[in-house]
């Protein structure tokens, strides 16, 4: 696995394509498995078919978008505090 002349096998486009395929199959399997395996819901909805998948995906999208929106207000350049505190090192 010498990486200098040639790209590392893990970052080659064909590997990444295969990884996406494998990942998609695993995702599908976790949902399909619910046909065979009973998922106990504590509050009705969380026992619905594929609830975990939808809930996980949706809450992550919401959190990322919320963080993004908050970032517009809260983000500052890295040296924001330096001018007031006189730090000369990060």
């Amino acid at each position: 696995m010498t990486e200098e002349p040639k790209e590392h096998w893990l970052v080659r486009p064909e590997t990444i394509r295969k990884l996406w395929w494998g990942f998609s199959v695993v995702l599908a399997l976790t949902v399909i498995a619910q046909l065979a395996i009973y998922v106990k819901g504590y509050f009705v909805v969380d026992g619905w078919f594929g609830f975990g998948a939808v809930y996980g995906f949706a809450s992550c999208v919401l959190m990322v978008l919320f963080a993004k929106a908050l970032g517009v207000v809260l983000k500052r350049p890295n040296d924001y505090y330096k001018e007031s505190e006189g730090d000369d090192d990060a």
């Binding site: 990486e3 590392h8 893990l10 970052v11 990942f23 695993v26 995702l27 976790t30 949902v31 498995a33 619910q34 395996i37 009973y38 998922v39 106990k40 504590y42 509050f43 969380d46 594929g50 609830f51 975990g52 998948a53 939808v54 809930y55 996980g56 995906f57 809450s59 992550c60 999208v61 959190m63 990322v64 978008l65 919320f66 963080a67 993004k68 908050l70 970032g71 207000v73 809260l74 983000k75 500052r76 350049p77 890295n78 924001y80 505090y81 007031s84 505190e85 006189g86 730090d87 000369d88 090192d89 990060a90």
Partner: protein, 571 residues
């Protein structure tokens, strides 16, 4: 062993000896003292060991219980593996400070009364500040001062609460209470400051990332988790904690998503994880308390593991930002694998310690029919995978090729990471090893097919969300404002503004005529006195001692005025 000898004292002696010893002897002390402490911890039987009278209070320096031993065990284990990680790189004073710090944490674990607890609490505050300072940069110095101010403030708040409780109950015993009066609120606030709860949570993400690559490993373990232990001992079932915990859980995720500094990502995820524990203490059932304790144990291991992998990267590359890193898996395979194990554990992936401990908390919420708590904790579990489980390893070790080809970890750091990785996996596969040491007996099955499928769906689809939203998460060369803005920016700005407002007044005094200056000097002398005559007979008005009669008269006048105002103003 003597009944009053806390196992913490072994660490204190070791910390002192580290400063005196040199070379191999010092290394031996660093590695053996925590093991000796671990042995001593398991010699402490249940119950109060002995009582000493001090200022008419019953001091109980050592009280054993399964819960206390569990926390002391993980603190000692942390000191051992942290010492292994650090002993070749750290300066002696950082190791000594870290050992004092660990001693404080172990002391708190066994403290049977509020006074002993407070003393060890302050020991932690002092020496954790030293560990922050060992970062060695001007930024570390400044962050350390802010850290010290906040923790000393927290200590004062805690002390006020303890005094109040002691005055009202006449006892310094550590007994469960609820936050229902001023003193108990003060104790709760003092503890919550150390737990990095809002609104003063910013100290953690401010200070930890400024410490040295080895220092942050120690810092991640002790302060917040002793706070969790103190909450379990003093405020089990306090409903306020549920809300506080949920806030911390979400706050940690959002800020970690915004962050670019790799150790700051981890720092925010400490707040997130401690939020789970605080919430569990708020739920307060036996299962929830077991969950908080087990999760604290597992969390110390995987969070230290993550800080170790970050520490190795910073040590080897000298860089600490996502934007400057990437592609390190090529030359740091071991660090990458250990980091991924830690990341999967923090995300509570099945077969890791996070799954077997965090699910206790979710189960406790479900058993109490707390729909919103359960749903938010579940969403947060997905969010943890997003911000710590994938984001952290992805941006550090994969992402783009940064062109960096650093060497992998030195042997001692690698060994420390392997030990903690093994613990993460072992507790995930054999959860009963940990369950048997929890404070309450429980009938809980960690792995059911349904639960595993549910969590796999939840986590893997969070992963899908991460990779689909990757364009939205491009790292920027920025920091995010947190509440520390109030004391880093707003307060100095206010003082500066006050300075500009009052400067003309001061400047004006220079232009007084000679007569004006004499009048001012005479007035000053009459009311404030000359410095050299301040204590003498011819005292000025404000410096004079007054007779008791005059004082009583003034008190009576003030009281009358108060009563008068009280009746005049509408109720």
């Amino acid at each position: 062993m003597h009944e009053l000898f806390s196992p913490a004292l072994i660490m204190v002696i070791a910390a002192l000896a580290i400063g005196l010893a040199r070379g191999h002897l010092r290394s031996a002390i660093v590695l053996l003292a925590p093991l000796l402490t671990l042995w001593a911890i398991w010699q402490v039987p249940d119950g109060v060991q002995d009582t000493v009278r001090f200022l008419s209070y019953d001091i109980e320096p050592v009280e054993g219980s399964p819960l206390r031993r569990l926390f002391a065990t993980i603190f000692a284990l942390m000191a051992f593996v942290g010492g292994l990680f650090a002993f070749r790189l750290s300066r002696w004073y950082e190791l000594a400070a870290a050992f004092f710090y660990a001693a404080g944490a172990i002391g708190v674990s066994f403290a049977g009364d509020l006074i002993s607890l407070f003393i060890y609490w302050e020991l932690m505050a002092l020496f954790s500040t030293v560990v922050v300072w060992c970062g060695g940069t001007p930024a570390a110095r400044a962050a350390g001062i802010r850290y010290a101010i906040l923790h000393l403030l927290g200590g004062v708040v805690l002390k006020v609460g303890i005094e109040g409780v002691v005055v009202s109950t006449g006892s310094v015993q550590i007994t469960p209470m609820l936050a229902n009066d001023f003193s108990s609120w003060m104790i709760l606030c003092g503890i919550l400051i150390n737990a990095a709860a809002p609104p003063l949570s910013a100290w953690l993400a401010d200070a930890y990332p400024e410490s040295s690559p080895t220092g942050s490993v120690f810092l991640s373990a002790f302060t917040t988790k002793t706070a969790v232990l103190a909450l379990i001992l003093l405020f089990p079932g306090e409903p306020v904690l549920i809300g506080v915990g949920l806030f911390m859980v979400i706050y940690g995720i959002i800020y970690a998503l915004l962050e670019n500094d790799i150790r700051r990502i981890l720092a925010y995820s400490v707040v997130n994880q401690v939020g789970f524990m605080v919430c569990a203490v708020g739920i307060g059932t036996q299962l929830a308390i077991n969950g908080a304790a087990a999760h604290a144990f597992a969390h110390i291991v995987y969070k230290a593991l993550l800080f170790m992998s970050a520490g190795v990267v910073i040590y080897r590359t000298g860089r600490n930002r996502c934007t400057e890193l990437g592609g390190l898996f090529r030359t740091m395979p071991l660090t990458t694998v250990c980091c991924i194990i830690g990341a999967l554990s923090i995300s509570s992936f099945p077969l890791t310690s996070g799954f077997t401990t965090k699910s206790l908390i979710s189960q406790a919420a479900a058993n109490q029919e707390l729909v919103w708590v359960y749903m938010l904790l579940t969403a947060a579990s997905a969010g943890v995978f997003l911000h710590a489980g994938i984001k952290f390893p992805w941006f550090v070790f994969f992402q783009k090729d940064s062109g960096l080809r650093p060497k992998d970890a030195p042997w001692n750091m690698a060994l420390a990471m392997v030990v903690f990785s093994a613990i993460c996996l072992l507790l995930g596969v054999f959860p009963e090893w940990l369950y048997q040491f929890l404070p309450y007996q429980m009938d809980y099955v960690a792995y059911t097919p349904g639960k595993v499928i549910f969590y796999l769906q939840l986590l893997l689809f969070s992963g899908l969300a991460f990779f689909l939203l990757l364009p939205l998460m491009r790292r920027t060369e920025t920091l995010s404002l947190d509440v520390d803005w109030l004391w880093r920016r707003a307060l100095p700005a206010l003082l500066h503004w006050l300075g500009t407002v009052f400067a003309p007044l001061l400047a004006g005094s220079k232009h007084l005529s000679d007569g004006g200056k004499r009048t001012a000097a005479r007035l000053a002398e009459e009311y404030l006195g000359q410095p050299e005559t301040a204590d003498s007979e011819e005292n000025a008005v404000f410096a004079r001692s007054w007779t008791i009669g005059t004082t009583a008269l003034w008190i009576a006048i003030l009281l009358a005025a108060y009563v008068l105002i009280y009746y005049i103003l509408p109720a």
